[in-house]
Assembly symmetry: D2
Homo-oligomer: 467 residues x 4
């Protein structure tokens, strides 16, 4: 899903971007990179691993000088695991020493036909990333200045993109016409900061405003310019950012993630009926940490006590090559452990933000039962996930989605829980304060294409990599 950050016209631009990337680390842990400009040259530092690791010993003033910089965090996807060529920012040198670098969050849905058409024209790609499309389109654009070249490029592109660009002397930010992915900006010390989420701006005690759908911004010595582009008649903000992906202390799309999760938890609680006989022994727990807030407000709404019944090992899950055997034997136990003192003999209402494959949910249920839980009621603060996302959330293929074909009862049975409660799509829209359901993308729940309104095909032949 990836995270991006940028700084224009400020001292220590690259160090500031590295700090914002650390605050956005939950959006991507596979690789990190920054490109800076000092007006006459671009500088790059990129590497595999956390931002904290990639930039650990970097002397920013020497390695990434200048007053503007852009950075990217790469999310590990199954298909395209970590070739060095795929680490962003991507950089190109066009004729006459015109350098350009960019970072991109989102997925382009027409990148395969575009790639073929560009290759027919002699383009040589260095990676399989759809983000490289932007570079090639711009290199071939007929327009004379860079903002116009970018808009010419956007005209050919379909899909989701929040992007930041850097030339030697200017800085660019853009969001696609449907506004799929979040991007905030804020003035800072005479310049500007940009980030996927506001939690990165909080570091510098500034609060941001969202970049609008179909908006291209240019910052340069001659000030700030902006252009609208594309058909902005549909707004399709990603509902999964609020459900799971963004940090709860962030605002995304101008709305507090924490508050949305409070509402999700409350609405979910309304759907659950706790039998009076079981009320005494019933507790609410979260699958930490992504559903903490939903679970707390679920508890408050139902009147049941909230407990910390599962403990997460925060040191795990950092290395991506886990021996098969370890995974098979110990499974989720390396990441989560049940607190017997809490769950033994209880009826557990366990709240999770979503069920994708169902693997974790199934194992949580069994962990709780082994620790002595009498009943396990699974409560999911989102609707059933029925289709992969093609606009930037990394989800598995359709056949691996537990809810793709099955009914709620079948899922509950397969997971070994006593009950399973989902939100409906309408209830999700309610929590997002979008009663008509016109402003958010919910295609992974509805299988309806966010732009055309057509049904999605059963499965895309080739799924683009996620950024």
């Amino acid at each position: 899903m990836c995270g991006i950050a940028g700084a224009y016209g400020v001292e220590n631009a690259s160090r500031i971007v590295s700090q914002m990337l650390k605050a956005l680390q939950h959006r991507g842990q596979e690789a990190a990179g920054i490109v800076s400009s000092d007006g006459s040259k671009l500088y790059a530092v990129k590497g595999s691993g956390l931002a904290d690791e990639v930039f650990n010993h970097v002397d920013f003033a020497a390695a990434l000088p200048g007053r503007s910089a852009i950075g990217h965090l790469r999310y590990a996807t199954s298909g395209d695991s970590g070739s060095k060529e795929s680490i962003q920012p991507f950089t190109a040198e066009l004729r006459q020493n015109r350098w350009f670098a960019l970072v991109h969050n989102g997925n382009l849905t027409n990148h395969l036909p575009l790639r073929e058409r560009l290759q027919d024209g002699g383009a040589i790609f260095r990676s399989h990333s759809d983000s490289e499309i932007f570079l090639h389109l711009r290199a071939r654009a007929m327009a004379m200045d860079l903002p116009a070249q970018l808009r010419e490029s956007f005209a050919a592109i379909e899909g989701a993109y929040a992007l930041l660009g850097l030339s030697l002397d200017a800085f660019y930010a853009a969001v696609d016409p449907q506004g799929f992915r979040p991007l905030v900006m804020a003035p800072y010390q005479g310049g500007w900061l940009f980030a996927s989420e506001s939690c990165a701006l909080d570091l510098f005690r500034v609060s941001g405003t969202p970049v609008a759908q179909g908006e291209l911004i240019e910052l340069s010595a001659s000030g700030k310019n902006s252009w609208s582009f594309g058909d902005r008649s549909r707004l399709r903000q990603c509902s999964f950012e609020h459900i799971y992906f963004a940090r709860p202390d962030s605002n995304v799309y101008g709305r507090s993630v924490y508050r949305v999760r409070v509402t999700l938890g409350k609405i979910l609680a309304r759907k659950v009926r706790v039998p009076d006989a079981a009320r005494e022994r019933s507790i609410v727990i979260a699958v930490p940490d992504s559903s903490n807030i939903e679970a707390l407000y679920f508890a408050r709404e139902t009147g049941l006590p909230f407990e910390f019944g599962l403990i997460r090992n925060h040191y795990m899950g950092r290395t991506f090559i886990t021996p098969e055997q370890e995974a098979r034997e110990l499974g989720v136990r390396m990441k989560l452990n049940a607190v017997e003192a809490v769950v033994a003999d209880r009826s557990i209402y366990v709240v999770d933000d979503s069920l994708v494959r169902g693997t974790t949910g199934r194992k949580v249920a069994s962990l709780l039962r082994e620790a002595g839980a009498r009943e396990v009621h699974m409560c999911i603060s989102s609707p059933p996930v029925k289709h992969p996302c093609h606009w930037g959330i990394d989800t598995p293929e359709r056949k691996q989605l537990i809810a793709a074909e099955a009914t709620t009862e079948e899922i509950a049975r397969s997971m070994g829980v006593d009950s399973l409660t989902y939100l409906s799509v309408d209830e999700l829209h309610e929590a997002l304060e979008d009663p008509d359901g016109t402003h958010h993308c919910t295609s992974c729940f509805t299988t309806v294409r966010p732009v055309t309104g057509q049904l999605l095909p059963p499965e895309h032949l080739i799924r683009p990599p996620s950024h």
Copy 2:
């Protein structure tokens, strides 16, 4: 403070130990190591970093073969930062191919005079770790068999130690006569598992019993033997394990950490009086994650709502070399962020497990105020820390302890909070179900030596490294 784990007489002993180390990772992140025995040779894999990193690509069957193994996690201490020679297990080859390896959690209080006396006899030390003392004492012991040599060694040693030892054909476990540091053991698949905390045994669905104070256990082809040693008239279990160090899903010293923290939160709540006028706008938050449970039960006892008002960035704090400037500018913001939607305009009761230097507390207070908190009341679920620990908890020098000399009022003022509440030592004993205060070490709070009952000196000249 370090963590240790061991396995005897089981298949895949070294892999099992690596998994237990991962479950104990909170006890030490600086370095990790395992030594295994296949009956004819010892094998070692050691390195800097998390267990997950050190053992990531290890082929256990090839690199660490055999049915017994011991492992160690090293806690980063300021003084002795990470020389390779200090990574445990320590191994020695004595005459006649008699190999011995050991891991040690705890501090030896007389290791400096012992080291000098051993050097006088010609001993050459390879590290500055006090744990190396055990190897040299055993090498010089007059007793004829290994268990007797170990007891002869223990007779010279004062201080805290939970240790595991490995010879080519036997396995050893011991805890010092005062029982300072925790160690649990459990039968598993015909053999035995050992770990600092029970959460590591939970991976294998076995529950452990504590190794007793002054107990030496030998496991070998001829079965299990055990010996008592030393003056076991005083029991001095570390109270800080319950307050902060151990995982809440663990049992240590035979007691549930979760339950102790529930009681700590409840007792703390009794000491706080929330004015009626302020009740409406008051909430309780934890400094996540170590005081979550105390805060939850503090809230329940006071009747105030519990909220997730601080969000922790779990990806930070992994690299120990943080640029000074970053630390100075952004401070605790890289690790913690306040949720404005939660704290704005509220009176905040923020619960933390302890105040050591006071740095984090001071910055939390300022984070909350900047996010709009009207009042900040700091509630600490332990007594004021007045003295460094010499028995295995890594604490700074006395002059850096905020409570070493100051009164509670002075501390509150210096931290910029509206009120500050500590537990008393008696209340701590109450939570530990040790009403006479005879079973736990509280010397960091009382400055009374745990064994002799004398007052500790103002500051030790040289503080031993922590294991």
Copy 3:
């Protein structure tokens, strides 16, 4: 100057190429790379350092499978020191899964205008290497099949190239129309081997024939095809290969390097008059190892004794970052040492293959004097180097060439030698058995362009990197 090797249609193709690269290691020590094809995919292993280091732990069957492979050794040039993107083979994926890889030895003289024209058409380059031009020209070629696309590409290119190419199912070899750089081929076990010099073929006990000027060879399942291309009216084999660059046990351009050097030494000897009075105390030494043969035959022709008066430290000069101070203080002493027992009190005729900057020569003279030499006579088995090479030999800028402007007497004086003898260009042609001087490129000595016959400009603005 770089070295290339390839194998088509043989077992263990990539391992064989790695071994040939090791035999060609004197042609480039900065980086090494191999790409192999198993018919359905291309595989690459590349890295900085010697072939021996880059391929040290490579499992060829797993990492570089298939029956065809090409490899490259990169020569360290001052300008473009070692960016990873510049390590060959270069690989591109064209539309419809059409992969192509190539390696190139030589320099393209019109690569800058070509690069600009390609960038105007939207091409994005990944390196500053002129070799990347081939990929882009081929990607844009209008011809329908690969051999035709290559010839279409060659038609746009001026300069020197010996190149090997690999598609999924075919293998290509080509030499430019003037035949600047050497390339030999030999049948081997039903397939073919290619290498810059015959010493690489000697490993496999096969002897090669040169690929002709302006010849393109295709090897595929349908056998061997070849095409002539370009204006082959001028043959311009590099004279420096014989003078210095090639190994003496090689044949290049079908001629024994050893025999050419024998003749160079003999002709040089004819030009030197040893005074009878000094004959007794006179000896001949080489600057080891590149002028050993010339010196030996110089000695035989003059009747003076040959001695090993300078000892080379073969372990030096492997790391390219030498501390300035070390270079300044110890200079050539780290690489060469005079044998006092040999040179003290003697008149020394020291034979070297060429003088480029003159740095080594100057230091050799001073080394010999300090070791007690009475006279130092410098004898150079090639003409004065007056101009940088633009066809593949890495030479410094004109102003750094000691002979660019100075007379022989001035050079002798500046080097502190008692006499200095060069070969003339005609004598060089004589040694090359090219009495009319029509078959070899001697532009570095004559400053006459090898193709057009015009004078070279004083200095090229931007010198292309050397391959």
Copy 4:
């Protein structure tokens, strides 16, 4: 066989030592290390590989400060391949902050019983190197000052050692009573330099004098002291240093290696009779580079022409893990190639310094024959090697020595040469100007123990590692 170097009382001591190590690189390529002292602390940099690699990026002033330093080059031996603990210098901290570091060239013949006796007293060894013995003996010595402790240690030791030692404020050099291994010293800029061979001193334009047999030297603020120790009635300088090991531009034991090799070549020539009929077609070649000088003077003495008939690939043989298959198939061809233009149709007198296993000799013979040689006459400038060395030259076990049991005729036949000529032990002594054969160790040729005069046993059970 290893090389050592040291500097006392000079600016940039550690950098100077690193440069001397580079000049001694032929004595050991496996590992390199330096320890320096600035009077209050010892500093160490050690690593695997060439000195050039280990010290490539070292900032000497920061990492190895101070005005005294010692360094070591480790020779790769088969048995003890490269454990990190075995890289010298070895360092120990004795009581009262008394640090001591040492480097050692040579082998101790009684190190196994000494090691056992030390272990009986409780010593814990960190390596299997015999050099560690010195540290333990000194740690246990009863004498009060360091020079006396060293002499007390030497009294227990038998075997060969040239060593350098460093305490915080003094510098030590010693050679064993029989003077097996070479060590030279020279005053330099108010201090002193030490090295295994004089070629390392040549870098600094100073000439050295040998440290005497049984001499201990101390350099400190109070000047230079020296002591004699042990039974110095026998002098046993290693003859192999002159035959093969030392650089020809060095003096060792006060004698020019070049001059000794000249004489070896001349004496060898006297033993060979070239048939008149074959004289026309006969040439002399060396196996480069170690027998260049012998071959040149062999040629001059016989009147036959000297030629460069074998070309060595100096880039090979740097990596010690050569794939078996490569070794088997290509054998010595990766290192040596015959020049067909030189050897075809000739009778070749090929001179080599020694035959140990005979592997290279056998392959050289076959290389020459395949290149067309009519006859191959092998001429060895030393006697048959009949026994492994126990005093510091790394030789294989007795059964692998080609001359251990076989006659010269049998060896010639097994090597496939037309004739084989060795020197006798008396002729070797003649070349060493030691007519009575009393000053040199020739035990590998005679199997007579150098100290006791007894015959060596057929094979030592455990061969000590070589330093």
